[in-house]
C-alpha cells in the first residue's frame, strides 16, 4: 500500500495547500505515503493546528501562583488548596451540531469530558453556552431542541451534571448554531496526569470503544470547511455517542489513576490515534511505534488511513509500564472496557505505524478479535512501516499570519447610535410597562428552566446553587478512593467554587475589543455575586471565516480585549478553543468569544443569598447607569436598532465592584444579589422579584438627564442589584462608599406589583407570564 504518491490533486482534496505539501516533503525528505499525507492533512488542519490563531493566543496571560497546568494540555488545572485541584476546559462542537443536533451535541459533551478525565480528574460539572437563530424559525427550533436533548441524553447518562450554561438567540446564528461545552473536574493534586509518553519500551494501551469508519477526516472536513446548509455529502460523517461506554471509561481511568498504574494519558479526539500517539511521544521527547493490527475495529475491511484518522468516540490512550500491564488490563476487564496494547514507546523520535508486527516481535498483549467478515491480520516481523515521520512534526504545523483589516462599515455601524431614535420614541412620561414585559419575553431573556430541567444538575451532591442564578456554586469535597472508600481526610472542610459562562457577541460586533472585555467582566461579576474570588478563565472563540481579513481583525481585537480584562482582573487564561469558519451562505457570525470563569469561595457552610428578593428589604443598586443602549437587548431585539457603541468597559471599576460584592456576600450583609446585564435594570429587578415572588417599589436614579427608558433598559456594565435588610443598610452603603463604588437605595420589596418610577408598573403575575414564555 505505501506506494509514494506525488499526486498533487490528492493533497488538495485533503484540504492541504501546495506549500503545506512541500513542507511535508521537506520534513520527510521524500514524498509522503497515502497514510502520512492523510495524517498531516488532518493534523495541520485549522481545527488541530490553530494555524491562524496561534500568533495571537500567545498574548494571553496564562500564569498565576495557583496555576498548575496552563494551556496546551487536555485541560488547564488550578490549585484549590494544598490537596485539591480543579481541571477546566471549554470546547465547541458547532459544525457537527448543525448537521445532526442530537449527536453533534452529545459527542461534544463526550469529547470535553475526556479532556478533563485525561488530566486525572473526575468530571464533576458541565456548562453549555448555546447560540441559535430565532426559535420562531423552524430549523433553529429543531436544532435547539435536538441540541438540548443531546446534552441531556449524553450528559445525564454519562453521570456528569450539567449545572449551567447560556441560551442566546440571534439572527446571525440561523445557519450556524454554536454549541460550546465547558467541563470542570476535581482531582487530588498528586493524581495529576499529563499526556506524556516517557520510558523506552513503555506501552501505549488503547482503551474504550472499537474504531469505526465514522468521523473519518472529521477534523478536516467537518471542522475546517464552511458549509452550505443541508450539505448532503457530509452526512455519513455523523458520529453517534455512547455515554455508557464513556462512563465505564471514566471509572476505569479513575481507578487506574488512583492505583498509580499509568505514566501518561491522552484522549483520542480530533485526528484520532494519529494525534494521540504522536502528541504524547513528542511531549515526552520520545518516539512511538503503533501497530494497527492491535486496534479493535467495529467494521470489516478498514484500511490504515481509516484506522489512524478515525475519530470514533470514547477512546483513550494510556502509557503504562510493561510490569503494570496485567494490572491495567485487569482494571479494564472489570469495567468491561476493551483494552489492547497498540503501541510502544521508542527513543527514535519517530512516529511509525506498522500493520501486523507486534505479535511477531513480542510486544505483549494480543490482537483483538476481528469483526465478523474480517480475517485475522498476517503477522510478519520484517514488515515495513506504513508511516514513518518525525513525531513532533505532526503537531508542528504551519502558522499563518493572515491579513487583517478593520471592517469598512464599522464606523457607520458605530455612528448609528440608537439613543436619539429611542429618546424620540420614548420621551419622559411614556408608559414603559409594555416594553418591560416584551423584554422579559425575548427568547434570550425568557426563563430557561425548560432547558435545564432536562439536565441532571444535582448529581454528586455538590450543587449548592444550580442553574437559574448568576453563577453556579459547587461545594468541593475530597473524592473517595476507588471502590468507594472514603478519603482519610473526608471531613476536612473544603472551599467551594462558582462558575459562569458569558459571551457578548452583539457588543463584540460593535467593538470586539470592548465586547471581549465586557464578556470577561460579566462572567467574573456573576462569579463575584456568589462571594467567590474569580481565579481562572477558559474561553471558546467562535468566529467566522479566518480567510476574511475582517474576521481576523475581530479575532485580534477580541484577544487584546480579553488580555486587558484578564490582566486587570488577575485572571489567568488556562485553556481555550478556537472555532473558525462559523458562517453560512457567505455571512460570518458575529464574533462570539465565550468566557468561562471559575472563582473560589474560601469557605461555605450554607447557601449564599440567591437572586430572590425578600419582602420589606431595601433594594440597592451598585454601579453607575449611563445612556448606553448600543447593542442592548432593548434597542437591538425589540427595536431592530443594532448600531452604536457598546457600554464602557471600565476594568478598574470592575475589580472594585467584584471585591466589594464578593465581600458583602461572604459576610451575608445582603439577602439577595443579582448581576445587572441583558435587558438592564428593569429586567434584573423583575428577575429578582419573580424569584422571590414579591413585588417592588422603586424610584429611578435619573442622573445626567437620562430618560426613564434609558435608565431602565441601558446595559451599562459594572452594576449589581442587592437586597438588603434594614439593619444592614447603613453598613452596606458605607462599604460601597469606602470601595469607591456608587451605591443608591432604589426602594424596597413588597406588594404584588413592580412599580418602577412613575412610568412603569407591571403586575408580578404579568411579568411571570411574560418571562415564563415557552419556546418548546
Amino acid at each position: 500500500m505505501p506506494a509514494a504518491t506525488g499526486d498533487v490533486a490528492l493533497h488538495r482534496q485533503l484540504g492541504m495547500t501546495d506549500d503545506e505539501f512541500s513542507a511535508v516533503q521537506g520534513e520527510l525528505g521524500r514524498d509522503p505515503t497515502e497514510l502520512e499525507l492523510a495524517m498531516y492533512s488532518v493534523m495541520w488542519s485549522e481545527h488541530c493546528s490553530y494555524k491562524s490563531s496561534k500568533p495571537y493566543l500567545g498574548r494571553l496571560p496564562t500564569t498565576a501562583p495557583w496555576v498548575l497546568v496552563g494551556p496546551g494540555e487536555g485541560a488547564g488545572v488550578i490549585a484549590i488548596d494544598d490537596d485539591l485541584a480543579l481541571a477546566l476546559r471549554i470546547e465547541s462542537h458547532n459544525h457537527p451540531s448543525a448537521v445532526e443536533p442530537y449527536q453533534g451535541a452529545a459527542t461534544g459533551v463526550g469529547g470535553i469530558i475526556r479532556d478533563i478525565f485525561s488530566m486525572g480528574a473526575r468530571p464533576i460539572a458541565l456548562l453549555d453556552p448555546l447560540r441559535f437563530g430565532p426559535p420562531t424559525d423552524a430549523r433553529s427550533r429543531y436544532l435547539l431542541e435536538g441540541v438540548v436533548s443531546g446534552i441531556s441524553g449524553y450528559g445525564n447518562a454519562v453521570g456528569v451534571p450539567t449545572v449551567g450554561g447560556e441560551a442566546v438567540f440571534d439572527e446571525c446564528y440561523r445557519g450556524n448554531p454554536l454549541v460550546n461545552v465547558m467541563c470542570v473536574g476535581l482531582l487530588r493534586r498528586d493524581d495529576l496526569v499529563l499526556a506524556i509518553a516517557t520510558g523506552v519500551d513503555n506501552l501505549a494501551v488503547l482503551l474504550g470503544g472499537a474504531t469505526g469508519r465514522d468521523g473519518i477526516g472529521g477534523a478536516s472536513v467537518l471542522a475546517s470547511a464552511g458549509f452550505a446548509e443541508g450539505a448532503q455529502g457530509k452526512r455519513p460523517s455523523v458520529q453517534v455517542g455512547d455515554p455508557y461506554e464513556e462512563k465505564r471509561l471514566i471509572e476505569a481511568c479513575l481507578e487506574l489513576y488512583d492505583r498509580k498504574l499509568v505514566v501518561g494519558v491522552q484522549d483520542l479526539g480530533a485526528a484520532g490515534l494519529s494525534c494521540a500517539a504522536s502528541e504524547t511521544a513528542a511531549k515526552g521527547g520520545m518516539g512511538v511505534d503503533v501497530d494497527i493490527a492491535r486496534v479493535a475495529r467495529r467494521e470489516p475491511g478498514m484500511n490504515p488511513v481509516e484506522l489512524m484518522t478515525s475519530e470514533s468516540q470514547e477512546r483513550m490512550l494510556a502509557i503504562v509500564t510493561p510490569d503494570q500491564l496485567d494490572d491495567v488490563l485487569e482494571v479494564a476487564r472489570r469495567w468491561e472496557v476493551q483494552a489492547t496494547v497498540a503501541g510502544r514507546v521508542t527513543d527514535t523520535g519517530r512516529f511509525r505505524v506498522f500493520d501486523g508486527v507486534f505479535d511477531a516481535i513480542g510486544v505483549p498483549g494480543a490482537n483483538p478479535q476481528p469483526p465478523p467478515g474480517d480475517t485475522a491480520p498476517t503477522v510478519t516481523s520484517d514488515a515495513l512501516p506504513v508511516a514513518d515521520v518525525p513525531a513532533a512534526s505532526l503537531g508542528d504545523g504551519p502558522v499563518y499570519h493572515r491579513p487583517v483589516s478593520r471592517p469598512s462599515d464599522l464606523d457607520a455601524l458605530q455612528d448609528d447610535d440608537p439613543t436619539p431614535v429611542l429618546r424620540a420614541k420614548f420621551p419622559n412620561g411614556t408608559e414603559l410597562g409594555g416594553e418591560l414585559l416584551a423584554l422579559l419575553a425575548t427568547p434570550t431573556i425568557a426563563d430557561k428552566s425548560w432547558i435545564y430541567r432536562q439536565y441532571d444538575h444535582q448529581l454528586f451532591l455538590n450543587t449548592v446553587v444550580g442553574p437559574g442564578g448568576d453563577a453556579t456554586v459547587l461545594r468541593l469535597r475530597t473524592p473517595r478512593r476507588a471502590g468507594g472508600q472514603p478519603a482519610a481526610d473526608a471531613d476536612v472542610a473544603r472551599p467551594a467554587i462558582a462558575i459562569s459562562t458569558d459571551g457578548k457577541a452583539r457588543f463584540c460586533k460593535l467593538d470586539p475589543r470592548v465586547g471581549a472585555r465586557l464578556g470577561v467582566m460579566e462572567a467574573a461579576r456573576n462569579v463575584a455575586c456568589t462571594g467567590a474570588v474569580p481565579r481562572a478563565l477558559v474561553n471558546c472563540l467562535n468566529f467566522g471565516n479566518p480567510e476574511h481579513p475582517e474576521v481576523m481583525w475581530q479575532f485580534a481585537e477580541v484577544i487584546e480585549g480579553m488580555r486587558e480584562a484578564c490582566v486587570a482582573l488577575g485572571l489567568p487564561v488556562v485553556g481555550g478553543n478556537v472555532s473558525f469558519y462559523n458562517e453560512s451562505r457567505g455571512a460570518d457570525i458575529d464574533p462570539t468569544p465565550v468566557m468561562g470563569v471559575v472563582g473560589v469561595i474560601p469557605r461555605l457552610d450554607e447557601a449564599p443569598p440567591s437572586v430572590a428578593l425578600h419582602d420589606g428589604d431595601a433594594i440597592v443598586l451598585l454601579g453607575a447607569t449611563r445612556a448606553e443602549l448600543g447593542g442592548s437587548e432593548w434597542a437591538a431585539v425589540l427595536h431592530g436598532l443594532r448600531g452604536g457603541h457598546p457600554p464602557q468597559a471600565d476594568l478598574e471599576a470592575a475589580a472594585a465592584l467584584h471585591e466589594l460584592v464578593a465581600g458583602l456576600v461572604r459576610e451575608r450583609a445582603v439577602t439577595a444579589v443579582h448581576d445587572c446585564s441583558d435587558g438592564g435594570l428593569g429586567v434584573a429587578l423583575a428577575r429578582m422579584a419573580l424569584a422571590g415572588d414579591v413585588g417592588a417599589m422603586v424610584t429611578l436614579p435619573l442622573d445626567d438627564g437620562l430618560t426613564p427608558a434609558e435608565t431602565l433598559f441601558s446595559e451599562s456594565a459594572n452594576r449589581v442589584l442587592l437586597g438588603v435588610a434594614a439593619d444592614q443598610r447603613a453598613a452596606v452603603l458605607a462599604q460601597a462608599s469606602a470601595a469607591g463604588v456608587p451605591a443608591i437605595v432604589l426602594g424596597s420589596a413588597g406588594g404584588r406589583e413592580l412599580r418602577i418610577g412613575s412610568d412603569c408598573t407591571v403586575a408580578l403575575d404579568a411579568a411571570a407570564t411574560a418571562w415564563r414564555r415557552v419556546f418548546e
Partner: protein, 90 residues
C-alpha cells in the same frame, strides 16, 4: 372522499451502514452470560406501525416515504424500510 381506502404501514428504521449502534452492541455483549453466545450483528432500531387513508397503495407508500424523510426517521443516520398493505373495509 368515498374512494379512500385504509392501509396499514410498518416502517422498520435501522442504522445507516457504518453508524454505530451502542445499544445493540451492549445487548449483544450481555447475551453470552445468559447462555446465548451464538448471536452476532445485533442492531436495535425502531418499528413504527400506522394506518393511513389514501386512494391507492402507491399513494400510501409515497406518503409514508415522505413522512419518513421528514419526521419518522432521521435520514442523516437512519435507513428505513416500508411495507404497506390494504386493510379490509370496516
Amino acid at each position: 372522499m368515498g374512494a379512500m381506502k385504509r392501509f396499514a404501514a410498518r416502517v422498520d428504521i435501522t442504522h445507516l451502514p457504518g453508524v454505530a449502534d451502542p445499544q445493540g452492541a451492549t445487548v449483544e455483549r450481555a447475551l453470552p452470560a445468559l447462555g446465548w453466545a451464538n448471536v452476532s450483528e445485533l442492531k436495535i432500531g425502531k418499528s413504527i406501525h400506522l394506518v393511513v387513508e389514501c386512494a391507492d397503495v402507491a399513494a400510501a407508500e409515497a406518503q409514508v416515504r415522505a413522512m419518513c424523510e421528514r419526521i419518522l426517521a432521521n435520514p442523516v443516520i437512519e435507513a428505513y424500510d416500508i411495507t404497506v398493505h390494504e386493510l379490509a373495509a370496516r
